[in-house]
């Protein structure tokens, strides 16, 4: 009988034992890059004017850590405003009501069109044109009234500026997510008697998450770094604290190295978190 069963893998006589293709270019390239890296690193690390002692001194100093805390707080608050606002904007944009849809389009046009730094300054200086904010009947009596400077503190100005700007971008991201869900899902939900709002909340948004989460992760990482812009309105976040210190001791590069360190630590943690969440939602 001839054997037709070959459980032991391919026939040994025809097995290919090729000599692997060599890649000399890679080795040369690696060598050149390695040399350059060592050269630059040595120039930075061993630079006598680079005060590593100062870096070590301030790396864990209370002022820097408090600044880092404020940076993280700003990131979280701004993203909460951004995501919530983005969902509202996306839903309004896709509303059958033309007025709501146009309103959302107008918002996105304004808040994506004006530079963030300008928006931050705008919120900060709001009290100059609107000294008080009150609740009441327009052109009629006012029930409660606040000093604008009391409500729009530096921190609220920063959260409003960052969050409302972010909402415009998140709106487009959420809309892309919602459009990615098969229209058959909406039909099936409607056919079961779910209202438009129930369908959105229980059927469409959970499925849209797969498309919404990865770019949102990017937005969080980006937001963490963008918070440094609020140094312009003197919110005591990481960069502002760092600037405060080097304006006294003139160790700019050393202190900026401290800032780089903490920004990199935070983005690395966020990247890991994003990777984990993406894996969870891609199922």
């Amino acid at each position: 009988m001839t054997t037709t069963r070959q459980t032991a893998g391919p026939d040994a006589r025809t097995r290919i034992q090729a000599v692997p293709l060599r890649h000399p270019g890679r080795w040369v390239g690696a060598g050149v890059l390695g040399f350059l890296a060592i050269f630059l690193l040595q120039g930075w690390v061993a630079n006598p004017r680079m005060e590593w002692k100062v870096v070590g001194e301030y790396l864990f100093s209370p002022a820097v850590l408090t600044g880092l805390g404020t940076t993280l707080l700003l990131t979280v608050l701004a993203m909460v405003v951004g995501v919530a606002g983005g969902i509202v904007l996306a839903v309004l944009r896709m509303s059958p009501n033309p007025l709501l849809s146009a309103l959302s389009g107008f918002y996105i046009w304004i808040f994506r069109g004006v530079p963030l730094l300008v928006q931050l300054l705008f919120w900060y200086f709001l009290s100059a044109v609107v000294p008080t904010i009150g609740l009441g009947v327009p052109w009629g009596p006012t029930f409660v009234e606040f000093d604008t400077n009391m409500i729009i503190t530096q921190l609220t100005a920063a959260v409003l500026g960052l969050g409302l700007h972010e909402a415009a971008y998140m709106g487009e991201i959420v809309r892309a997510g919602i459009t990615s869900v098969d229209p058959g899902q909406t039909e099936a939900a409607h056919a079961l008697g779910l209202t438009r709002f129930q369908t959105l909340r229980k059927i469409i948004l959970p499925q849209a998450m797969r498309v919404i989460i990865p770019p949102t992760g990017n937005q969080v990482v980006s937001m963490l770094k963008t918070t440094s812009l609020v140094f312009a309105i003197a919110v005591p976040e990481l960069l502002t604290s760092i600037q405060g210190i080097y304006s006294r001791n003139f160790q700019q590069v050393a202190l900026l190295t401290v800032a780089c360190f903490w920004y990199l630590v935070a983005t690395t943690v966020l990247n890991a978190g994003q990777h984990y969440i993406e894996r969870k939602f891609s199922r």
Partner: protein, 254 residues
């Protein structure tokens, strides 16, 4: 017999294309109606009009003597708000060609969602009923499977159970076996046959399964080019078609 669905001159147009050009038909309670016809004849569109997934442009379409999607008061027709339309759909179950199960939920959750969210029924009771329905469609062991872990035939059976969980008075089937591999068609037809035999469910079925239509249905409606060409008992329409268009269609599919 009580009339469940009454269509009078139902008219639907997409842009410049007239998809339905005046459909008249009635479905009595307990009746099983098959709608057959070539693709593009408007049969699926008509089915979708019955639960207002499509809005009609002219004519009248009644479910239990109430207009579908509209309200008529003193000779004027008013659009119904979203909530009222949703409430009308509660009594009409629909099964789609592409199943449209919710992929982020298990089979059991797919069945339980609408009774809990729409009818606000107690969860424990709904769970019990969902398990019973899964058993009925032969998928008792698949309660915790997600749609992508099920075959097409299994998904369609879950979709039927999902519609039945709302205890509808009317079931609409939009080519329920057209997206299935041939060997899986039978298991879905078995479930539908059981619905007719055991529950006496009123059903409108858009289908290409002529053998099934002949066996199960009381009435067959042949549609072509947006109109009902002929209708009657299966023996008459399939056996001795009176119209040339019906004969031409049947010669291609039988």
């Amino acid at each position: 017999m009580k009339t469940l669905i009454r269509a009078e001159g139902v008219y639907k147009r997409y842009g410049t294309v007239d998809v339905l050009k005046g459909i008249d038909l009635e479905v009595a309670e307990g009746e099983v109606l098959a709608v057959i016809g070539p693709s593009g004849s408007g049969k699926s569109t008509f089915l979708r009009c019955v639960n207002h997934l499509e809005r009609i442009d002219a004519g009248r379409l009644y479910f239990r003597e109430r207009l579908i999607g509209y309200e008529e008061r003193e000779g004027k027709v008013y659009e119904l708000p979203d909530k009222a339309i949703a409430a009308q759909r509660v009594d009409i179950g629909m099964v789609f060609q592409r199943f449209n199960l919710f992929p982020h939920m298990t089979a059991l959750e797919n069945i339980m969602t609408a009774p809990i969210m729409v009818k606000k029924e107690p969860k424990a009771e709904v769970r019990e009923r969902a398990h019973a329905l899964l058993t009925r469609v032969g998928l008792a062991d698949k309660a915790n499977s997600r749609p992508d872990q099920l075959s097409g035939g299994q998904q369609q059976r879950v979709a039927i159970a999902r519609a039945l969980a709302m205890r509808p008075g009317l079931m609409l089937f939009d080519e329920p076996t057209s997206a299935l591999d041939p060997e899986l068609v039978g298991e879905v037809l078995d479930v539908m046959r059981d619905l007719v035999k055991e529950d006496g469910m009123t059903m409108i079925i858009v289908t290409h399964e002529m053998g099934f239509a002949r066996e199960v249905c009381d009435t067959i409606v042949f549609m072509d080019d947006g109109v009902v060409v002929e209708s009657g008992p299966p023996g008459a329409v399939l056996g001795e078609p009176r119209h040339e268009r019906t004969r031409a269609f049947l010669s291609k599919v039988l």
